[in-house]
């Protein structure tokens, strides 16, 4: 196979979509970084640096054959658990939660990378399961145990959002394979029964967020304020928006965390329904493209990995936008390629790299 053939097999459409989302994301971040006095914070520049690093990470993620990655799955799992354990042991505390560990000058957030590594691990465990789907209880024990252990470690940090995401991604992969109806019902029953117990384990601030979501008036100063201000920002954009850099809500600092979790409301305020719907359609296209890659994968592992990675993107977009629009609780999930943040950017690029990897090797020729 010649080098040129590999080049042709790269999914340029997918990359173009990625580049478009990055461009729009940076534009909105640029606007969100303007203060009321016109000063611009350094976020956009730093974000560009992260994206450059992301391109490198994407290159690496494409070039290693994903089947080799599957062979590493047990080590990836042990490494993930080790890092999550290290966070609990020596992690740095910010905002009441330990999420970071410092490696020299670098601060890494293992729970971000755990999203990807757990998608790999679950895909591996399901792919090598000898029983045929739909699954009964026994084939699910190992993957479920592996994920719950990692999710438990993340929950202890405590990072409820990521823990739920880990379980959700594994659930999507398992459901994609197929599960017997009885097992499904039993799981639903157990979840319903477990909710009150889980409530007891939640941290105070997490309970507050959920209660505030159900009734924003409860906390007119904190999360309720965020939701109301975010809704005003989004709604005031109307059909066509106020125009680039013209969003009063954002620039007068009404909007909290406007360059991270609430960046979508800046977009909606300045570009209106037209702009926000356009971006949502881009995201939708991106996610469907991921599903298309899953459908073309040459083996079970590749398909399950693609499903898992795509569901990570889907959960992030849906939960973040749902939160900004006041449909879901404020859980602190970033919007891929829009929200400022190195870990989120790198994770997204690695996911895209792995998806391209699966697509590239769909015929088993490289």
């Amino acid at each position: 196979m010649s080098r040129g053939a590999v080049w042709r097999q790269i999914d340029w459409g997918f990359l173009a979509l990625l580049a478009l989302l990055c461009g729009v994301g940076l534009t909105v971040l640029w606007s969100a970084s303007h203060g009321p006095d016109g000063a611009v914070a350094s976020y956009p520049l730093r974000q560009v640096r992260w994206m450059a690093m992301g391109v490198l990470a994407l290159g690496v993620a494409v070039s290693v054959d994903y089947r080799k990655i599957e062979a590493w799955a047990p080590w990836i799992y042990l490494g993930t658990l080790g890092l999550l354990g290290a966070v609990l042991a020596v992690g740095h505390t910010t905002m009441g939660a330990q999420r970071w560990i410092a490696l020299g000058p670098l601060r890494i957030q293992p729970s971000e990378f755990a999203k990807i590594s757990m998608a790999i691990v679950t895909a591996h465990l399901l792919a090598r399961e000898p029983a045929n789907p739909p699954y009964g209880v026994r084939p699910l024990l190992l993957p479920a145990g592996a994920v719950l252990l990692a999710a438990g470690a993340v929950l202890l940090q405590p990072d409820l959002g990521t823990a739920v995401l880990l379980v959700g991604v594994a659930g999507a992969q398992i459901l994609f394979q197929g599960v017997r109806k009885g097992v499904l019902m039993a799981c639903a029953g157990a979840a319903a029964a477990g909710l009150p117990v889980a409530w007891g384990f939640l941290h105070d601030y997490q309970r507050q967020r959920i209660l505030t979501f159900l009734d924003p008036e409860r906390d007119p100063l904190g999360a309720g304020y965020h939701i109301i201000q975010s809704k005003i920002a989004v709604g005031s954009g109307q059909l066509l928006g106020k125009g680039f850099l013209q969003g009063t809500q954002a620039h007068l600092r009404f909007l909290p965390e406007r360059h991270t979790d609430f960046i979508f409301s800046v977009l909606a305020e300045e570009w209106g329904f037209v702009g926000a719907a356009f971006v949502l359609l881009l995201y939708g296209l991106w996610i469907l493209w991921g599903l298309d890659i899953a459908s073309r994968a040459r083996d079970d592992f590749g398909r399950l990995l693609a499903v898992g990675l795509t569901s990570i993107l889907f959960f992030h977009v849906f939960v973040n936008v749902g939160m900004v629009l006041g449909l879901l609780p404020v859980v602190g999930v970033p919007l891929p390629l829009f929200s400022y943040g190195g870990s989120s950017v790198l994770t997204t690029f690695v996911i895209c790299g792995l998806l391209l990897n699966i697509r590239l090797r769909r015929f088993g020729r490289f």
Partner: protein, 616 residues
């Protein structure tokens, strides 16, 4: 390699479900977006352009504090501050406006001008100008129309009606600092919140603090409030009923006068701290209002440390008051009986050195009772050697020496009971027998605090030798005065001495005050028999000063004076410890202070106030 389990035809239905889920989810988001932006868009546009929503924190009134009879020790008053909304200040006619405001506030107009500058926070947000008095507020209100942009806001501030009397015990409050706000421990606090900085205010912060509320206020573009959109009322903090008795505290404070020292008075039967005086002390009102950096510097560099609560944080050698502990140790250990006699010639020769008794002429033959009454040092040198330092420490620790009493105040110090192991550990040197002689008369390494001393004496006085944890808070009430918790007295131990041993010592302590040769005859109070023990804690002196009369020794080289005891001697109710720094002899400097306290207690008993306080 494992072969794929699905053919493309079996895969298709799954993909259809996935696409349907994604499409459904995005349809929900798009629908919501359309609802907010197109359907409700005009309303939100109106809200964002014509109106602003501002969040204001409503401070929670801090819980009040009362003495045991319900007298107010700490409450909350309104303080006023002047604010300015820059966007509302007239651009034309600024100078007369500035002159007027500057004249009313007594603030240079340059300072006001600089407060108006800048765009952060937004120009329609009120900015703080200064604290104002009631009269200034009235003038601002009267000239409201001529002074657009000026706002007056009331804020609850801590107030201590008794002023400096309870200063160090109650502590004071201050605003949370920017640095504290950055740390997790202060997650519940916001800028402008106050927090207990010392004393009961600090220990009981969580109870007193309450929960601040807040409101979302709709304001117009000029920063004027249009209406309250949402409100969460503040919840007042809970009230504390303290064990303190205002009149005892006052008597102790007045008796101490401007001397440096401390007085602790404890209820023998409950551990209630009835009075806790430290001198000098500051007016907590001054600290709660906030002091200038210069004044603060003055306070912290004061060599007398007015912020320190000497009653719990001041560590002093107990002097002869420690002989009570050594006497009980000797009886319990069996190295002496009440009849054991020692000959005092005025000095004790040990290891080639003379250890002197305070009475140069000597006491002659003394038994335990006389040794305590006349505070004979030679008797205790002999007893100390017979016991050894480790045995002294062991028995003294049963009285509570050498560790914190656990009183609900911050910054309590443990004192020190030296042992051989302690000296090896902390000094890296062996114990010398001569040092045991010093310890036996309460000098050398031994350290105690006035409250620890009063608590030890309370245990000696208690009929069954029961020890209680000294405490300041007896009850927690909600803002309406309903009792939430009545805290029971907390027994922490019982003295391991027999009632016969205790009554021997008690009898001697009574004679210290009542006997013809007692060292504290000045502590005698008409109508209420007092028992106690004097002490003089030696302070390092120059050799040339050793034999001078006290008036000729520089103040800071004079000995500390102690008197500790209890009353009534036949049915003990209160115990006390008085320490006068550099006061000289316990009998002359400290005992009269204790007498004034006991007199005040006697008067309370006669009025039935003390009894009523206990019932409440």
């Amino acid at each position: 390699m494992l072969r794929p389990r699905f053919s493309r035809s079996r895969l298709r239905p799954r993909l259809v479900v996935c696409v349907a889920i994604v499409a459904g989810a995005f349809a929900v988001l798009l629908g919501r977006l359309a609802y907010l932006q197109v359907w409700q868009g005009a309303r939100y546009r109106y809200l964002s352009e014509n109106n602003r929503i501002r969040v204001e924190r409503i401070p929670a009134p801090r819980g009040m504090m009362f003495d045991r009879n319900g007298e107010i020790l700490a409450d909350v008053r309104a303080a006023f501050e002047a604010l300015v909304v820059p966007s509302e200040v007239p651009v034309e006619g600024l100078d007369p406006w500035l002159d007027r405001v500057s004249e009313i506030l007594g603030m240079p107009s340059a300072d006001i001008r600089s407060a108006l500058e800048g765009s952060r926070p937004a120009r329609w947000e009120p900015r703080f100008l200064s604290r104002i008095t009631r009269a200034q507020m009235a003038r601002l209100e009267a000239h409201r129309l001529e002074l657009p942009g000026m706002l007056v806001r009331a804020r609850p501030v801590r107030h201590y009606p008794q002023g400096p009397l309870f200063g160090a015990v109650l502590g004071y409050v201050g605003e949370v600092s920017a640095r504290e706000l950055g740390s997790d421990a202060f997650a519940e606090y916001a800028a402008g919140d106050v927090i207990g900085r010392a004393g009961v205010e600090r220990t009981w912060e969580a109870t007193l603090r309450g929960t601040p509320g807040g409101q979302q206020v709709e304001v117009d573009v000029r920063g004027r409030e249009l209406r309250v959109l949402a409100e969460r009322p503040a919840k007042a903090g809970r009230n504390l009923i303290l064990s303190l008795e205002r009149r005892l505290q006052q008597a102790a404070r007045e008796a101490l006068g401007d001397r440096v020292g401390a007085v602790a008075v404890v209820d023998v039967r409950t551990g209630d701290v009835l009075a806790l005086v430290t001198s000098p002390s500051l007016d907590p009102n001054e600290l709660a209002r906030g002091v200038s950096a210069q004044r603060w510097q003055e306070i912290v560099s004061d060599p007398l440390h007015p912020l320190q609560n000497r009653a719990v944080a001041g560590q002093y050698p107990p002097g002869s008051t420690f002989k009570v502990a050594v006497a009980l140790a000797g009886l319990a250990e069996g190295v002496i009986t009440p009849r054991t006699r020692v000959y005092c010639s005025g000095a004790y020769r040990f290891a080639g050195r003379d250890y002197r008794c305070w009475k140069k002429a000597g006491h002659g033959w003394v038994d335990l009772e006389r040794a305590l009454i006349e505070s004979c040092d030679v008797y205790f040198y002999q007893l100390g050697l017979d016991l050894g330092v480790d045995q002294i420490a062991r028995w003294a620790s049963e009285l509570g020496f050498g560790k914190e009493t656990g009183v609900d105040l911050p910054g309590e110090r443990p004192g020190l009971l030296p042992t051989r192991a302690w000296k090896r550990r902390s000094r890296g040197k062996p114990w010398y027998a001569g040092e045991t002689l010093s310890v036996a008369i309460g000098q050398g390494y031994v350290l105690t605090t006035p409250l620890q001393m009063a608590a030890a004496m309370a245990a000696v006085a208690h009929p069954q030798g029961v020890r209680f944890r000294p405490r300041l808070v007896t009850r927690i009430e909600d803002p309406a005065g309903r009792v939430l918790h009545a805290l029971p007295p907390e027994e922490v131990g019982r003295l391991p001495f027999s009632l016969a041993q205790l009554s021997r010592v008690r009898k001697a302590l009574r004679q210290v005050v009542a006997g013809a040769h007692g060292t504290a005859r000045r502590a005698d109070v008409e109508g209420l028999p007092v028992a106690g023990k004097t002490g003089t804690a030696q302070v390092v002196k120059l050799p040339s000063e050793r034999n001078l009369p006290i008036e000729q020794i520089p103040w800071e080289h004079r000995d500390h004076a102690w008197f500790t005891g209890y009353a009534p001697a036949d049915d003990p109710r209160i115990s006390f410890a008085v320490l006068v720094e550099h006061g000289g002899h316990g009998g002359s400097a400290a005992a009269p202070v204790a007498a004034r306290v006991v007199e005040a207690y006697r008067d309370l008993l006669r009025e039935g106030l003390a009894a009523r306080g206990e019932q409440r």
